[in-house]
Symmetry: C2
Subunit: 408 residues, 2 copies
């Protein structure tokens, strides 16, 4: 049993394709090979599908999948083309996804033909979505059925992309201002010893971490996204299962998401485009167990659930207010070639500042309409606006805001 591999003096195995992150074209860049069907071809740490690789390993242990299974990728290529864009050739701009991840069939046809098991890390398809809030907007006359963006039954046509994380470790280190060695060591040590190759294989620069990725929902003519002429509406949304799916009234997540989608549809109907980025970062990337612990602490604290102590309660339980690291968020905009967002459905100063630092202009920020804020979510809104969130038009009731008690 080999516990970890050690790089040859010359770096990755001679059988593994070379990988030059940020190279201007696919042939020079080379494919990311993280499959396990032939370990000699691997040029990355970790493997595909994030944490779902654990289920895959379980399937092999249980005998329901053979270890050497290779995907038949017939007919799976993207429904719509994305890129290449000039940003793909800049190792500083994209460090947390593989810009060529959806195009492996065409970009790395030579390697595939040579028997190297290159897997897509991005998939692009089309769908019709039929959200209750969009139907409400149609009923209320804010949106109209046009037979194209909104189909005859009120369903909205979208192009969507699923993106697995692919980290270029030197670039991630640079983004956070730490040395690559420190980053590798901390990633290894503070996950409880996950992937010793992080420390033994300095020659492997790419890591596929077992974390959730993101999904994009694109509205209108996808080929115009990133032309930086056609107006773009956008919402960057971080997962909140309790609100997004179950409409818990303690936060504004689903209402703001639905409002963002409405802005995207509206923009697409005017000839523009829309983009929703949905990041799998539950509870500010602290996870849902921590989130619920914080809810209890907020609602039970002396004096009740107040905007004043909103961030403090998270800090007491988690040590930080937030672990979402918006520093990595702009990468997907670079992937899409976007340099300007015309209408941005977000009040977050962290997101706005991260985009600004990445050189992406936000023309207009659109706060959530006051009547969409659920009753118990005022605590969060007041706390956030008071802490620097964009709140033009927000009617503050800071001193009169208190959340429900735990058992109300």
């Amino acid at each position: 049993m080999v516990l970890t591999s050690h790089g040859a003096a010359t770096g990755v195995s001679a059988a593994a394709p070379a990988l030059h992150w940020g190279a201007p074209d696919a042939a020079t860049r080379g494919p990311v090979v993280a499959t396990l069907t032939d370990p000699r071809h691997r040029n990355a740490i970790g493997t595909h599908a994030g944490g779902y690789s654990v289920y895959r390993a379980l399937a092999i242990a249980a005998g329901s999948l053979t270890a050497d299974f290779r995907a038949d990728l017939t007919n799976t290529a993207p429904s719509d083309a994305i890129g290449p864009h000039p940003q793909w050739g800049d190792a500083g701009k994209i460090v947390s996804l593989d810009p060529w991840g959806h195009m492996v069939g065409e970009a790395f046809a030579r390697e595939l033909a040579a028997g190297i098991d290159v897997r897509p890390t991005i998939a692009i398809t089309r769908a019709h979505i039929d959200m209750p809030e969009i139907r409400d907007a149609i009923r209320a006359g804010r949106l109209k059925i046009d037979g194209d963006i909104i189909g005859p039954k009120g369903d909205v046509r979208v192009t969507k992309a699923a993106i697995d994380p692919v980290w270029y470790l030197p670039g991630i280190a640079e983004r956070f201002g730490v040395s690559e060695g420190r980053l590798r060591r901390d990633l290894f040590e503070y996950t409880g010893g996950m992937f010793p190759e992080l420390v033994t294989r300095g020659d492997l620069k790419v890591f596929l971490p077992p974390i959730g990725g993101m999904t994009l929902y694109m509205f209108g003519d996808v080929s115009k996204i990133g032309d930086n002429v056609t107006p773009l509406a956008c919402r960057v949304h971080d997962e909140c299962n309790g609100s997004d799916v179950f409409s818990s009234d303690i936060c504004t997540c689903r209402p703001y998401l639905a409002h963002g989608i409405e802005l995207c549809v509206e923009m697409a109907q005017k000839g523009g485009t829309g983009l929703v980025v949905y990041n799998r970062k539950e509870g500010r990337a602290l996870g849902e167990v921590t989130k619920f612990l914080v809810y209890n602490a907020r609602k039970r604290q002396e004096g009740g659930d107040l905007p004043d102590t909103y961030f403090k309660r998270t800090e007491c339980v988690a040590g930080v207010q937030d672990m979402r690291f918006q520093e990595l968020m702009p990468d997907v905009f670079h992937w899409l070639g976007i340099r300007r967002i015309d209408r941005f459905a977000s009040m977050s100063d962290m997101k706005f500042n991260a985009l600004a630092r990445a050189g992406i202009d936000v023309v207009e920020r659109v706060p959530i309409p006051d009547d969409l804020i659920p009753p118990d979510a005022r605590v969060e809104m007041e706390a956030k606006v008071s802490a620097g969130y964009y709140g033009a038009g927000f009617q503050s009731q800071y001193d009169r805001t208190q959340g429900r008690g735990l058992k109300e």
Copy 2:
């Protein structure tokens, strides 16, 4: 740099609390210690919060969190008591979660006082949820505002629990009929070398894998869940972001979830209880990239998207039809003390059979009402019913069913 630890001849470090999985009481069982603040106390592999541990490690690398931070758990204890139940003392019944995970404050007060950093793996809180579909049910007269289960504004009161996975490796191995050694080796090897302790530390029997956990939504008087007298309605739902959040019409996920919630509310209003189990197993635990690849293959194949080839397309891309492993699903019912489900909102034979094998009676299976099946989801429904899903009352149109083309 220590790449992996090796157990002493006597097993875990003398400073680490002993762990006897399946012991009848907390004192004998002992706490799961997977925190990294003092490695000498650890008696498990991996760490807390699933894949979010990667973000935590990044926070430490970035200098925004100190490695020795310990949570202040003041006021975070469960809003409602769950258990203990006799099932907690059976190492064969619960192998994928820690039954004492929400009670660490009381169950392991002695260890906490001795400075051992025991963390909850389960958190229980309360919420009000306000789903559009429930409002529709109220408008249509199927549900009525009662001021208790459904509040005056139409919001539904729930108790919810977030549960992180905690795997007892000998029990997982037994559930799948493989040796513990084989399981450990495959989990290590086929994740690309994650956690060498899986193979070097046979004395550590517990593993916290970096996969998503689950969330429970409980309706009615929670103290009556598991009394096996009060009638229980239930939906076991596996995450499908595209439908659950965005209402994509290619599957029945959100409509069936909403219907399940309606049955739970209805049962609670009649004096019964309701339970929704929401498992983070996107795309049958294959992940969303694979899911979208399969969508493209289905919609582009010769002859179009037909029930006949529905499962085959997944198998071609993923090697299996499904990786959800319903074998582990019944554990949460044992945690809640449940031996009988009166109304089960699921047509899945895999879920039904897994519950039956675990000794949990399902009295009535409730299929999704025909009018809730979205247009493009008929392919899935026809394929599933034809493959053995429960379909009483389902009006099959097998030969006339074809899904939309990719670009329609």
